[in-house]
């Protein structure tokens, strides 16, 4: 501490507001998603007077946070948000919790009333650090300009090291006006927060033994592989291909292993593939790589993969043994650990139990033969699954990024679209935030201006943040809003059908806008399609259009999303289609979420 403060005496003196912009520049920030207000005016004044950092003016602060999430998830860099005090900060809360649940690195800067007014119920005062304490990985209220620049550097460090997450720095207005010495990035003290990257060699050796002896192995991968960076995906692919073990992934990890890969089983979990869930249930060796045994994955915990030895690699020690007890716990960064695993396994002769593995694959092929994603297509109405299959077929191979909203369409997108690379799939997994997809797609497009960015949406979710179409227009983000419009809160309707005696309480979308006219009102293109025969041409029209598109795809209203493991059931109690749903969910399952 003394070192930094001694240097600050000689450092360049500037206002707190200028420090904010300087610190962002030093951190390599290119774009800030934000919305101004009284308590951040000095910072906006600084933004006005420079050209290095681009500011994207959103229409609602929640949109800013989801945009920053899309930006972060698709680039691997932290997303930056700037909002005012009080309502600006509270509007940003949902996005921060979303980022916390999905481990997305964000730095959120909020204005605050001046220090001498804190606690007086001043205009637009809210206890922002109090409100966001459980919504962030860490947060700071900076009461002294001399500490501001260092705190911002620490904020970037904390957001991006260890398990990534959102952090918040609350900056009172008088702190923005006052002057002090600027502490450059290299001099900021970050030594204390250095999460461990290397796994314990002894446990790594035990994991390698598991690889060598497994008869029915499965790799269960998650968002941690994406967060670890491109090297982690590369090493995962190497390990999967070298061992020949089957691999599945959570919703958050799609793309780490390519969907076209031989060993790919598809997504697992509540709406995961039959073969993936049965492999998890029947395996004798489970390798959890950067996933967290979420309840959408495990189903009934008591019956989760009952006969397997389990290894778990995670950078967050609190993720290990939280829900499922594991035999080989490894705390560390995925890329670091996989590198050690591969080196050791190769040094010991690259052995696997080939004979047993062949039998295991034969079993898996039988499960695959069930073809759990088959559905009854129609030539009169567009089936949502069909719409996604066509979207996939017509955009495969393009420089494509997909975001989603939350609901049935999200699960269908995960099932029917194929991801070949990490960072190409942005969805709200842990929090399940309707309204995530549209702003996230804009954030992705800002980071990748020439890419094809598609938000697979439900009509209800999409309305939650539709004001951001204005942002897309203003910043020329040619995002494609592919709305699977079933005029229903489809996922809610499905649960009501299966769990609540077909009493469809408040689960339909009444008084929907005319999406084509809405597109025109925003100044972008609207496309409506209701006939399967027109679908391909309509999708191509959307893809080719140079600008934002709202695509109103009118789909079958009562389609259910299968496979489904009902709440409170085990992996081997999966429902494959409507015929399986009779009496499927008991009283105990109905109380689960």
């Amino acid at each position: 501490m003394n070192k930094a403060h001694a240097t600050s005496a000689k450092a360049v003196t500037m206002t707190g507001a200028r420090m904010v912009v300087q610190a962002l520049k030093d951190q390599g920030v290119e774009v800030v998603f934000g919305y101004p207000g009284g308590a951040v005016l000095p910072i906006y004044d600084e933004i006005f007077q420079q050209n290095d950092i681009r500011h994207v003016l959103v229409r609602h602060e929640q949109g800013a946070v989801h945009m920053a999430e899309g930006y972060a998830r698709s680039t691997g860099k932290p997303g930056v948000v700037l909002v005012t005090s009080g309502p600006g900060a509270t509007n940003a809360v949902t996005g921060m919790v979303d980022a916390l649940m999905d481990s997305i690195p964000l730095v959120v800067l909020t204005g605050q009333v001046p220090t001498f007014m804190i606690g007086t119920d001043g205009f637009q005062e809210a206890d922002t650090v109090g409100i966001t304490r459980p919504c962030t990985k860490h947060n700071w209220l900076v009461k002294d300009t001399a500490k501001l620049s260092e705190t911002i550097h620490q904020a970037f460090h904390v957001a991006t090291h260890g398990r990534p997450g959102p952090v918040l720095v609350d900056i009172p207005k008088d702190v923005q006006f006052a002057t002090a010495g600027y502490i450059p990035m290299e001099q900021a003290r970050t030594a204390h927060y250095q999460p461990r990257l290397q796994g314990d060699p002894e446990q790594i050796a035990r994991l390698v033994e598991m690889i060598e002896t497994a008869e029915r192995p499965v790799f269960y991968t998650g968002g941690g592989v994406v967060n670890s960076g491109p090297a982690a995906s590369r090493l995962l692919r190497e390990l999967v291909d070298a061992t020949g073990f089957p691999v599945t992934s959570t919703l958050m990890g799609l793309g780490c292993y390519p969907a076209s890969g031989k060993a790919w089983l598809g997504m697992l979990g509540m709406h995961g593939l039959y073969e993936a869930n049965l492999a998890m249930h029947g395996c004798d060796a489970m390798f959890n790589i950067g996933a967290r045994f979420d309840d959408r994955i495990t189903g009934r915990v008591k019956d989760f993969s009952p006969h397997s030895k389990k290894a778990h690699i995670d950078i967050d020690p609190s993720s290990i043994n939280k829900v499922i007890r594991v035999d080989v716990p490894i705390v560390g960064d995925i890329a670091h650990v996989l590198d050690r695993v591969l080196t050791l396994w190769k040094a010991r002769g690259s052995r696997v139990n080939r004979a047993a593995l062949a039998k295991w694959w034969a079993q898996i092929d039988q499960w695959r033969a069930v073809r759990c994603l088959d559905f009854t297509n129609s030539d009169r109405t567009i089936k949502p699954q069909h719409a996604l299959q066509r979207l996939e077929a017509l955009t495969r191979g393009m420089d494509r990024y997909i975001t989603t909203e939350v609901g049935q369409h999200q699960m269908w997108a995960a099932q029917y679209l194929g991801f070949e690379e990490p960072n190409r799939w942005m969805t709200s997994g842990g929090l399940g935030t309707m309204g995530y997809g549209l702003p996230a797609s804009i954030g992705v497009q800002i980071a990748h201006p020439d890419a094809l960015v598609i938000n697979v949406a439900g009509e209800a979710s999409w309305l939650m943040n539709m004001q951001e179409m204005g942002t897309a227009m203003q910043f020329r983000a040619p995002v494609k809003q592919f709305i699977l419009n079933n005029e229903r809160l489809g996922m809610v309707r499905q649960w009501q059908e299966l769990l609540h005696g077909e009493r469809y309480s408040q689960s339909w979308s009444e008084s929907l806008p005319d999406f084509v006219k809405l597109a025109e009102a925003f100044g972008c293109k609207g496309i409506r399609c209701s006939d399967p025969a027109d679908l391909d041409e309509a999708i191509l029209e959307m893809v080719r259009y140079d600008g934002p598109v709202i695509f109103d795809c009118l789909v079958e209203k009562h389609e259910n999303c299968f496979p489904m493991i009902p709440s409170g059931k085990a992996h081997n109690e999966m429902m494959l289609g409507d015929a399986d749903t009779r009496g499927a969910i008991g009283a105990k399952g109905a109380v689960l979420v």
Partner: protein, 186 residues
């Protein structure tokens, strides 16, 4: 296609049955948590316990290193071994937390709590209270003709025991600091 089997108005089923039916019994652990003494750090720790449904039996906190601005939080908690492990992992990953020690498993430790007892009474009762205070090595820190304030340092059990004895003798008020604890040895 009604799949609903719940009786109307029934509330007998409970949500989120994630607990192991053969869950091991609850244990009591004393944790020492060394933290940066920055604003909000106590709220962070307490928020972790309330937000995740952990128990706090006792909690003490004070800055123990004024130069380094370090505070020591001593928290006594109960839970199954799995929950205790979770609590430690959750504490350890917090940014201002430097060290987490489980004094209950890291070897022998000393645990002390300070308590003040206000006991009011006359005659025989008053003499009996004073006699017991001597046996328990409690100090008299205030006295009037009708009351004493005793100060006692000891384990929580000793304080409980003394409080039980004082109750029939006119215990009016009791203030306790919560447990402070250190590992034994160097």
């Amino acid at each position: 296609m009604s799949a609903l089997n719940i009786k109307k108005g029934s509330s007998s089923h409970s949500a989120y049955d994630l607990r192991d039916p053969n869950a091991p019994v609850s244990e009591t652990h004393t944790l020492a948590v060394l933290v940066d003494n920055e604003s909000g750090v106590l709220a962070r720790v307490i928020g972790l316990f309330s937000g995740r449904g952990y128990n706090i039996e006792s909690l003490t906190v004070a800055e123990v290193d004024h130069q380094g601005h370090r505070s020591r939080i001593t928290v006594v908690t109960t839970g199954t071994p799995q929950v205790i492990d979770q609590i430690k992992a959750q504490l350890a990953r917090m940014v201002p937390v430097h060290e987490v020690h489980d004094l209950t498993v890291e070897g022998p430790s000393v645990q002390r709590e300070l308590a003040l007892f206000k006991v009011a009474g006359r005659g025989e009762q008053r003499i009996e209270a004073l006699r017991l205070a001597e046996i328990f090595r409690a100090n008299v820190v205030d006295s009037t003709l009708e009351s004493f304030v005793f100060e006692m340092t000891g384990t929580p059990e000793k304080i409980d025991a003394f409080a039980e004895l004082m109750r029939p003798l006119g215990l009016r008020e009791l203030a306790r600091t919560g447990v402070a604890a250190l590992a034994r040895g160097a």
